[in-house]
Symmetry: none
Subunit: 232 residues, 2 copies
DNA sequence: GGATATATCAATCTAAAGATGTAAGACAAA
DNA sequence: TTTGTCTTACATCTTTAGATTGATATATCC
């Protein structure tokens, strides 16, 4: 399987020596992957990653000394195109979310069948991102929960809906930091007209100045259609 | 299946009448679900949702008249505990992301086998969130990508790091829509001092006015470790 | 046809924001 | 001690922002 190119090389990082040995045996005996290194230390693991450039790292995320997530971040920063799969004893939604956020390509529970781990490695080796169905569900519960508050706030009444098309255009330019003159220039209308629109926007959004208008817009789904960030 | 309680009731919304008929037949003949309504109009669909309180809605997200995502948002706002599964012709990552963000409990491609749709409905009816493995992978590529830029952007040079502690306080109040007087009052300093700080902030962030300063702050991780929103 | 909503523009005025220069006290590092 | 940064503060001035009133043209809706 995928042996036509070359065997994918795997590095194992797990502070539990027993589990480490077990996984190594599993991979060596029941898969096409080559284990190029094993370690119980996250820090050593990072160095081994630099040294051997494995294709895949299986990383335990529950380690005392150094947090597995931290180790993932450090390895990701190296930008070595190493694909990391998390091994974890817990299906904690927050943990899954953070792992995927910082770039893990997979997340498998230690309690899952060994076939599942091999399958995850196959998928990840093929360039995909793999999360077991059950964990996917947990991830999305957490993911959607982080937005629900926002939705509720704007669910009450989104004043943005009262804006006319033109006013939305003006507001959009406001949310890009334009002043009256710049907006007038971009919309090919006079500055006084822009002032009229802006004043109407203030009335409708019930704010006093452009900064508040911009903040209202950004906090109430005035989609600049690009993402903003989520804290780790 | 799950018939021990009662048959889950399903509402179908799809502007393609042919596809609508096909799905209805599929569900009626090959599943335990009861179709309580079908419509080709998103707006009518919203009203039917209010009227019938179905357990599940299958929603086409590629409709002309009204955007399917918009319809989902409106239904979610009603807070009727209706679980919505997206039906789509496209495995567009952005579309999947936005759908899941606003609360869809599943996302299935029209090209997928009918068994997959039934399976998705079973999972969703059981309270889970379901995304086919292939789409999960696409979702996470998009998801992780949305953070990579940030990391890089803020890695280049984040001008926010040049701010002093006091300037950060002032900027924080700026990002809450305060004017000079309000900031002076909250920090127990004079208005002229606030002006000094604000001017220094402008210099350091290389912007011309407070709106631009606020936008810079929000776009460069001035979000104080709480989740911020992602635009739909 | 008349009511209503929208988009355009102008004049005027007040308040707020922003630019610039100066400076004193606190405090920490060299 | 000196140097430097930070915080505070004031004066002055120009520019921009915002409020208000009024007016015209163009649609759309009933």
């Amino acid at each position: 399987m995928r042996d036509f190119k070359r065997r994918s090389r795997v590095l194992l990082i797990d502070d539990n020596a027993d589990h480490l040995r077990g996984v190594k045996e599993l991979i060596t005996l029941e898969s096409c992957y080559e284990v190029v290194g094993t370690t119980t230390s996250a820090n050593i693991g990072i160095n081994l990653a630099k040294k051997y450039h494995p294709d895949i790292i299986l990383m335990d995320v529950n380690m005392p000394e150094k947090d597995g997530l931290q180790a993932i971040q450090e390895i990701e920063k190296l930008d070595l195109d190493i694909r990391i799969i998390c091994l974890s004893g817990y299906d904690d939604a927050d943990l899954i979310f953070r792992a995927m956020k910082i770039g893990a390509k997979g997340y498998v529970l230690k309690t899952m069948a060994s076939a599942q781990l091999i399958y995850a490695m196959d998928e990840v080796a093929a360039g995909k991102i793999y999360l077991p169905t059950a964990l996917t569900s947990r991830f999305f519960e957490y993911f959607q929960n982080s937005f629900r508050e926002d939705t509720k706030a704007s669910a009450e009444e989104n004043l943005l809906t009262y804006l006319t098309a033109r006013e939305e255009e003006v507001l959009d330019l406001l949310t890009q930091g334009n002043n009256y003159k710049a907006i007038a220039g971009k919309l090919f209308i006079s500055e006084t007209t822009v002032k009229t629109h802006v004043n109407n926007i203030f009335q409708k959004l019930q704010v006093n100045d452009r900064t508040q208008a911009v903040l209202y817009a950004l906090n109430n789904g005035f989609a600049n259609r690009r993402l903003s960030k989520i804290a780790v």
